[in-house]
Amino acid sequence: MRRTLLLALLLAAASGASAHVGHGSGGSGFPGGFLHPITGIDHLAAMVAVGLWGAQLRAPALWLLPVAFPMIMALGAFLGLLGMPLPAVEAGVALSGVVLGACVALALRPPLWLALGIVAVFGFLHGHAHGTAIPLEGSPLSFGAGFVAATGLLHLAGILIGLLLRWPRGALVVRGGGVAIALAGAWAFAAWLMDTI
């Protein structure tokens, strides 16, 4: 099962990683915004990892993460909209998959402030990437609502997969998922590297 999950995520990475880097053509309005985190494997993997890690850390991290994340992400989007340059933000987004995936794979339990800090930094990066992709024609706020909602639902997906933690074997599956996410992040990072060089 663990191997199947890994394979599925790798396949998804193969199709998605190249599609995301520099993408921003997902359309406008709510659907465009909603698809932005989902169609980029780097966003998708990292957001599911946030949910998985929250499930591993349990309360209070479990509910602090999904409450704090959207606001920090919005701060990144806000500064992205204002044109604050953030060089190589796509690389940072890809690396967030590697780091968060590794945290899940190793079932790391740092102090709460450190876990929140790690997630906050990456939330900011993801928000910046989404913010610079907001199309100003049409309804830009709907686009914003779309990626906020999609990100939240991806956290929820991670938290729900985290229900597997009730069983010892399930905990292993979750950690295997972390490995797959870290690999997907590495894949996206490699794609970014190939694109830049």
């Binding site: 606001m71 204002l82 909602a149």
Partner: protein, 166 residues
């Protein structure tokens, strides 16, 4: 009558702000507080709508509109996300301000005062829908889900400020 109701339902900032006030009201422990918050919001919306629809303001407020709407989204969203922040008077102030801002904006967009018959019930219904959601979610995870929705609301407000500054 239909068009002004649709205006609220299709503009994301109006829709989400009204909904967030419902969430805020539903989080109050005392039933009286819930009712007075909802009533204050709808009353403020009604009065501001009429003032804006009757007065000849032109586009004097156009540049402020987005910032005011964003401020209500951030304020209402934060209070819902972090209930510890919201003593009753503050919640009441935010409900009133949200009613005034969105009532005024919708009133400016209305062609006639008659539009009030469509806009006010629409605003009230959206707020009641938000309140209804909190009533459904009495489970421990339900309370968290409501706070998460508040956080999404505040996030949208912040993004709206960014869009308006562009």
């Amino acid at each position: 009558m239909l068009a002004p109701a649709l205006h609220i339902l299709t503009e994301p900032d109006h829709l989400v702000a009204c909904f967030a006030i419902g969430l805020l009201a539903g989080q109050r422990a005392a039933r009286r507080e819930t009712l007075s918050l909802l009533a204050a919001f709808v009353g403020a919306f009604l009065v501001a709508f009429c003032v804006a629809a009757v007065g000849q303001f032109g586009d004097a407020f156009e540049s402020l509109d987005a910032f005011a709407a964003a401020a209500t989204l951030i304020a209402a969203g934060l209070l819902v996300a972090v209930p510890r922040l919201s003593p009753a008077p503050l919640a009441m102030a935010v409900a009133l301000a949200t009613g005034v801002v969105h009532g005024f904006a919708n009133g400016l967009a209305a062609a006639t005062l008659l539009a009030v018959a469509g806009a006010v019930p629409a605003a009230a219904l959206i707020a009641i829908a938000g309140y209804g959601l909190t009533a459904l979610l009495k489970a421990p995870w339900g309370l968290i889900a409501v706070r998460v929705l508040g956080s999404w609301t505040a996030a949208m407000g912040l993004i709206l400020v960014g869009i308006a500054l562009r």
